[in-house]
Subunit: 146 residues, 2 copies
């Protein structure tokens, strides 16, 4: 039997969250946290609705996953997020000691790699999963905003 729980499978869940952000007129970024093929947290960017620059999808997902686990470290967890994390989110992921980060679209300007933010040495990163779908959603959002 084929394993349906691929990185693409979970990135699609994150994309669904990003679409919910788009519908709410938020910059469309979505995230899920997965442990043992189970989604334990899902979130999307809510900076406008909450009037809060800290309300990025990843930040909410970290808080929510820790709440589910009953502990603040996200060992054995994977974060799927549609856009490369920023400095803030990468800094939060550092503290969480998360095992794995999978992101879709790169952010050449504000992404953590460009800005040199340090992740935890235990954290593995995979990028470019459903990259085009993730990027197109954000591009369409800003085209609509013009």
């Amino acid at each position: 039997m084929e394993n349906i729980f691929t990185d693409e499978y979970f990135m699609k869940k994150a994309l669904q969250e990003a679409e919910m952000a788009f519908e709410r007129d938020e910059i469309p970024v979505g995230a899920v946290v997965v442990v043992n093929n189970q989604v334990i947290a899902r979130s999307h960017n809510l900076t406008e609705l909450l009037n809060d620059v800290t309300a990025h999808a990843e930040m909410q997902a970290i808080t929510s996953a820790a709440n589910f686990l009953g502990g603040k470290y996200l060992k054995d967890c994977t974060l799927y997020v549609t856009l490369e994390p920023c400095q803030m989110c990468a800094g939060a992921l550092y503290w969480s000691q998360i095992s794995r980060i999978v992101f879709g679209a790169s952010d050449a300007k504000r992404g953590y790699r460009t800005l040199g933010t340090q992740l935890h040495p235990k954290t593995e990163v995979k990028l470019g999963v459903l990259e085009n779908e993730c990027a197109v959603l954000i591009k369409n959002f800003f085209l609509k905003k013009r």
Copy 2:
């Protein structure tokens, strides 16, 4: 008449918050946000109580100040924090476009300056205000923990 609203004055308020964290067995870091000599947000580190790595004093202060102001940008605001912000908090401060950051003790290992986190170009920084008091509190905390 002498102006009582000095940086030391507001850093003492942040120190009081740090002391509350100490009493709660949290790493003792406190913060206040000030606009026009008025404290609009106060907070201390709650990562243990909330089981949440994102619950640093600064993160809560940013959220709380934005809530008070009814807008997510902290223009004309000063954050006083007893310890140099980490990558996550500096990244959040970047997004907030805060006017000024004043911190007490430096954090040579995890501080944003060592790790090269970018602040907003509009943000001014002053460091070393009540440095010794801020540092001693943290040192005592870790001595107690041994």
